[in-house]
Amino acid sequence: MLNKRVIKIIFICLIAPVFLIESAHCRTEYDYIDINNPFIRKIPIAVPLFKSMSGSEKEKVLSKEASNLLSRSLEFTGYFKIIDRDAYLADPKTDTIGSNINFKNWTGIGAELLITGSLFLKDNVIEMELRLYDTFKGLLIVGKRYKGVVNNQRKMIHRFCGEIIYKLTGNRGIFDSKIAFVSSGSGNKNIYLCEFDGHNSEQLTYNKSITLSPAWSSDAKWIAYTSYSKGKPDLYIKNLKDKHGAVVAKKGINISPAWVPGKFQLAATLSFSGDPEIYLLTGKGEIVKNLTNNWGIDVSPTFSPDGKKMAFVSSRSGFPQIYIMDLDSGQVKRLTFQGKYNTSPSWSPRGDKIAYSGMQNGEINIYTIDVKGEGLTVQLTQNSGNNESPTWSPDGSLIAFSSTREGPSRIYVMTAYGTDQRRLLALPGEQTNPEWSPGVIDN
């Protein structure tokens, strides 16, 4: 009963904020963040502690948690430089709420953006009012009010982060996304999920065998993966909610799934013919057709965001290299020429680049390559162990990958330009195969 009420409150408060505090002239898109080169200069932003409305101890603690979480979450994007609270000129108790903000106190310390917040706690339900200002223009960019149970504070803060990033970049960002990955902590490799920032990791599969290669459908309702549950590598297609689905268990290997954007179809490598080829499958695991037909290894498909092209790894030249196939014409062209071992392609959600891992001089690193034109290649990692399995955040701003830079393999995150490399999480065992979900997960 309580649960139902809580869910109702969450629904009202999260899906539809109580009201919008948004002035008309704030609707124009601001070019605060140039998505073509957003990490050259980080925007200085101030996130003072939220004002506790009743002043109770519990409320103060929650206010501090909420403002710190907002800070950390914004910093995670790589777009912002969070200004140290010790540097503030303004008195947060009197000066950060309402319409009488003295913006000079904020421009004086270099803050170009300011977030103010207030928090009111009553009967385990919190009400937050959050605002983002342009301090130089003295303008409210976006303001929202959220109401929900204390346990949903994280969701509320991330919802507001999404609003901020939407206003600044025109994209909803990553705050609703999850990352699937493989961890060996249980003694066997199993699939786990965590939130975009590495928090709240949970085990998804409980196999007593090897489980690999999670792949999200573009509606984030399905995950496909490879498991040795029946003694050999078979492909499992699972609905995340009710766990029903299909198994592709043909002779040989059934591996490396990738969903077709916007469709209940996926590509995967099957070797029942005696040769590993990429096939197009329905979401129920039935073969639609061959996509590749070439002696040698064809593996690891990834689709362009419009679903018209597929990049994949082929050893047809004698070494694994990345190729792009036009799915209408079936024409294939080689994309990578540097080095003798380029694998694990991941097509950017923006469509312009493919990230991959390449081996040179015995070291594996992450590269990006332009899909069009000369195929400009940029090396994003170096001198930091082996770096593999790149996967793009749903807005194309970040890349998660696995690295052995600290010894055991762990999941790391960096910007799409290779800056701000940091560990996402560390669990018992080793973590590999990260796979970032699409932007919106409705569960």
């Binding site: 090897i210 690999l212 490396s256 070797s271 040769d275 593996v299 071992y341 694990s344 891992s357 590999t432």
Partner: protein
């Protein structure tokens, strides 16, 4: 007095006589039994010896047979163990069979011909370098290479199954070329 004397004379005569008789009788009896004993003894001894010889021969034959059986059994086990333990090895990112791998596969084919009731699983493995997915495909190709070679040597396809483990089950967990060269292998398991 005279009576006493007679008794004495009589005793003197009788006692030695008696002694004579007993000693003579004894002597005769003794001579008879010795002869019979010797014969029986000899016969028994002979029989015993023959029995020992027979038993020894029998035991020798059994031992010999057991030894042969044991040797044969050991040979079979050794051949079986060798079949299971002897891997073939590949170069980095390659799945072609090197000459030494082909020689090993020929002995495997011979074993399979001598053990026509047996079916096997060929596991394809890779070293840890490179990506899991590519290595799963590479391991599949390695197992397939061995599989196809055995079929070419006349082994029925139905007796062969391949499984790729990619880089998931290294034989040597270390991270150096010595370990990697041991891990790039096809391993054979009798079902």
């Amino acid at each position: 007095m005279k009576k006493k004397l007679w008794i004495c004379v009589a005793l003197l005569l009788v006692i030695p006589g008696l002694l004579m008789v007993t000693s003579c009788a004894k002597k005769t009896v003794k001579a008879d039994t010795t002869q019979e004993d010797e014969a029986a003894k000899l016969a028994a001894e002979k029989a015993r010896q023959e029995e020992i010889d027979r038993q020894r021969d029998r035991q020798r034959a059994i031992d010999e047979e057991n030894l042969q059986k044991e040797a044969a059994r050991r040979k079979i086990i050794a051949a079986r163990n060798l079949f299971m333990s002897e891997n073939i090895y590949f170069d980095f990112d390659k799945y072609n069979l090197k000459p030494e791998a082909q020689e090993v596969l020929k002995t495997k084919a011979e074993w399979l011909r001598n053990n026509s009731g047996e079916s096997i699983i060929i596991e394809g493995h890779c070293d840890e370098r490179g990506t899991n997915e590519y290595n799963l495909a590479l391991g599949d190709r390695r197992a397939q290479s061995a599989n196809n070679f055995l079929i070419d040597l006349g082994i029925a396809e139905s007796r062969l199954t391949t499984i790729s483990y990619g880089e998931e089950q290294p034989a040597d967990p270390r991270h150096n070329e010595d370990a990697w060269s041991k891990n790039r292998r096809a391993h054979f398991v009798i079902e």
